[in-house]
């Protein structure tokens, strides 16, 4: 318990920075709603990355000034955005041609759970009475070449999000490549969950304690 006194792990911004470092120059990237959206602000200088938003824009730019907002220029999270020079607009079927046809290089998503086999659950908690809403999540995990997950390592009540088997309804099976949490960067490899990097004041023992699925030291 004394470990709570010092800073443990990364902040949300630092997590986004870690993801951004792994996005190569010239990538086409789709960012999920929420935490993934932060990634765009942290791509290293000198890398040109093109952002796709599934509602019909390749070349999503930063958030506009209040005075320049166009209610007809929004992202998948329905937030006002801008379009970069060299961007293009297209309809939904063409947009998902990019996704389903494996043209997008990287998708960064949030998740409720990721299993040791790379299964992801991020669209429904399956609670009775909740309105099911899937959006483009299943298309993204089925179609994008590389799926990165950015999420807190544990739920608010302390449960591991990195599990042996997802208990929430699946979004896709065996699709996640890397998971970036506040505690660590973990690659999902054939041999298992390989810890690539740990956050400040996190050691392997601590990390495993906070993780349901078995981890492997890199």
């Amino acid at each position: 318990m004394e470990i709570k006194e010092t800073k443990v792990g990364w902040s949300r911004i630092e997590m986004a920075q870690k993801v951004a470092l792994d996005i190569p120059d010239e990538s086409y990237v789709n960012l999920g709603i929420g935490l993934p959206e932060l990634v765009a602000d942290h791509v290293p200088e000198g890398r040109e990355v093109i952002y796709h938003t599934e509602n019909g824009l390749l070349g999503m730019g930063p958030i506009p000034e209040e005075s320049e907002r166009d209610p007809e220029l929004i992202n998948a999270g329905k937030k006002n955005i801008t379009a970069i020079k060299g961007g293009s607009f297209f309809h939904h079927a063409d947009s998902f041609t990019m996704i389903r046809g494996k043209h997008i290089d990287i998708c960064v998503l949030g998740a409720f759970q990721v299993s040791k086999d790379g299964d992801i659950a991020n669209w429904s908690t399956g609670k009775p009475g909740a309105i099911p809403a899937v959006g483009g999540a299943m298309d993204l995990v089925a179609g994008v070449k590389r799926i990165f997950v950015i999420t807190q390592h544990n739920t608010k009540d302390g449960k591991s999000k990195l599990v042996n088997e997802c208990t929430y309804p699946l979004t896709g099976k065996g699709v996640v490549e890397t998971i970036y949490t506040n505690l660590a960067i973990i690659d999902l490899k054939k041999e298992g969950l390989v810890v690539r990097e740990m956050g400040p004041n996190v050691d392997f023992e601590y990390l495993q304690e906070h993780t349901e699925a078995p981890l492997i030291k890199s």
Binding site: H91, H92, I131, A142, L170
Partner: protein, 238 residues
């Protein structure tokens, strides 16, 4: 002479019948043909199946159509959005049905319906509950699910400019589902911010060729849905 221009939203939606299958364009408020939807509320058709990405916000547009109990079933990918309370409440009371479809599958099913493709295979939703009961099939060692083309009796679409042939262009991400929905309905009914002369739209830049459009009405200053929602307005206006 071909002249698809009609004089009012009411005239545009006049033929919509009870039990019709209706596609409604828009992704959130962008591209939502709110004046056509309001005209449809006034017109009174009920027991509708509505295909649209979302279920509307506040008490205007699609949300108002649902609130007035005109919608028996929604086919959509994301039935809850910011300030969407109408659909969730009625859904939980069992007063409206829902067919949940992944967004890309929804777009492709509509495109297929318009293109004369009765069914196709997609990797999206395989190994999830949304593929339950659907036909699976392997191609080159990968499993896909069969999905059916979707067609409608009517599509309601909003665009930026239209000419009397029904050629359309859109504005930015308000394009979204409009072009595929135009192809997939017996009658596509369009509200355009501007009616322009033949030839004013560059033939290289036409997004929806007129062949897919039945009627066009000019709505010069369409409502800004998010403003209406922020102001807590309800349709019909009080």
């Amino acid at each position: 002479m071909i002249n698809k221009i009609v004089s009012s939203p009411a005239e545009a939606v006049a033929n919509i019948f009870d039990g019709a299958m209706i596609m409604i364009g828009g992704f959130g408020e962008a591209g939502s043909p709110i004046e056509l939807i309001h005209a449809l509320i006034d017109q009174g058709a009920k027991n509708l199946t509505v295909i649209s990405n979302n279920t509307g916000s506040g008490h205007v547009g699609i949300a108002s159509l649902i609130e007035h109990r005109r919608v028996a079933k929604m086919i959509c990918s994301f039935p809850r959005t910011l300030n969407s309370t109408v659909f969730p409440e009625l859904y939980n009371k069992g007063e409206v049905d829902l067919e949940l479809v992944p967004q890309g599958t929804l777009a492709e099913r509509i495109r297929a319906g318009g293109a004369g493709i009765p069914a196709f295979y997609t990797p999206s939703s395989v190994n999830t509950s949304l593929a339950n009961g659907k036909e699976l099939r392997d191609f080159d060692g990968i499993t896909y699910v069969m999905e059916y083309g979707l067609k409608a009796d009517f599509s309601l679409v909003k665009c930026e400019a239209a000419d009397r042939y029904g050629n359309l262009i859109y504005n930015k991400t308000a394009r979204n589902f409009g072009p595929v929905m135009c192809t997939a309905a017996d009658q596509t009914l369009v509200q355009a911010k501007r009616i322009v002369e033949l030839g004013d739209i560059d033939p290289e830049c036409v997004v929806t060729p007129g062949i897919f459009v039945k009627k066009v009405v000019e709505v010069t200053n369409p409502s800004d849905e998010s403003k209406l929602v922020a102001e807590e307005r309800s349709y019909p206006w009080k």
